[in-house]
Amino acid sequence: MAKSSYNNPQFFLCCENGKVLLPSLPATPQELEVLLTNKDANAVKFRDQIRMYNSVLAFTSLSAKVDESVTRSLGPYSFRIQGELYHKIGSLCPAEGQRPQFAQLYIHDTKCEHQNRHAVMPSLDPTTLDRLLTMMYNVNPYVKVFKMARDMIATECAPMDLKLRLIAS
């Protein structure tokens, strides 16, 4: 920026001198905060596997060419991709004979929801995963919407082809 100098530095990236003002992020739910900050073995393991926990819970799948040569090397963790990256979402119900994935885990065969999720990533701790899932059902609006859709599908007089619209703005 024009006025910034070595002796009199000006910082713009954070908020453009107050021009950008966004709503604060609400306080993190207790269960999650403990896992993100505690130093006990369980929490440390959670942070180590946080990307796996996230993909078990996520609605969308991320497609990108991840450069594995840096993710598995020594030194600090780095995430490097090449080419395009995009988020994809499938249908509410899985195709005949296929296992539910991503958003479908919130809809399909939810009596075994925990087992289904656990089957996707067997190396995750089932208790931690349960706790996170319960938390999401309590606070996350998208999870609540998918639960609503699931209940509608489950009712006897369900319409044959329910559609869910996620509003863009």
């Binding site: 992020l25 739910p29 969308t60 995430f79 995009y86 979402i89 999870v143 609503m148 509608m152 703005s169």
Partner: protein
């Protein structure tokens, strides 16, 4: 914090009523995967559930800058004048992600404590910014008068 009513509606029928083309319509029956626009307000929240447990709103094209009087408050002539004086009146994608990645005492900690997931989020955000910049170049060839530069 968005509420359930604000993030989605359920439709019965073909869902072909006039809608914002960035809206995501998910059908019950299996079909091909669809891509979510990076201009969708839930683009990040739908993937990074652990970073945005409350489904916090992400960037969308109509977030006004602080202190900018919105169009609704003004008559048309005045809007034009204000728009000329300041280069832009909405928060850009780069400004949005730049703002979010600063530590603030008032913010929840999930995003910045997210460890490896945060790394991924940052890469994701940067790609989203780059992709929209490229899209701008692609869609504004006339305005940029690229034909003048050809053969240089």
């Amino acid at each position: 914090m968005p509420t359930t009513d604000e993030v989605a509606t359920s439709l019965v029928g073909d869902g072909s009523e006039a809608v914002d083309k960035r809206d995501v319509i998910i059908a019950q029956q299996a079909g091909p995967c669809q891509r979510i626009s990076e201009l969708h307000v839930g683009y990040m929240a739908l993937h990074y559930l652990l970073l945005f447990p409350y489904g916090e709103d992400g960037w969308h094209p109509n977030i006004p800058l602080n202190g900018v009087i919105t169009d609704a408050d003004l008559d048309e002539n005045h809007v034009e004048k204000v728009k000329l004086q300041i280069k832009h009146c909405n928060v850009t994608m780069a400004e949005f992600y730049g703002y979010r990645l600063q530590h603030r005492d008032t913010d929840g900690i999930a995003l910045l404590q997210g460890d490896r997931l945060r790394h991924q989020y940052i890469v994701d955000a940067y790609v989203a910014i780059e992709q929209s910049r490229l899209k701008y170049l692609c869609l504004n060839q006339k305005k940029l008068r690229v034909d003048l530069y050809q053969g240089l």
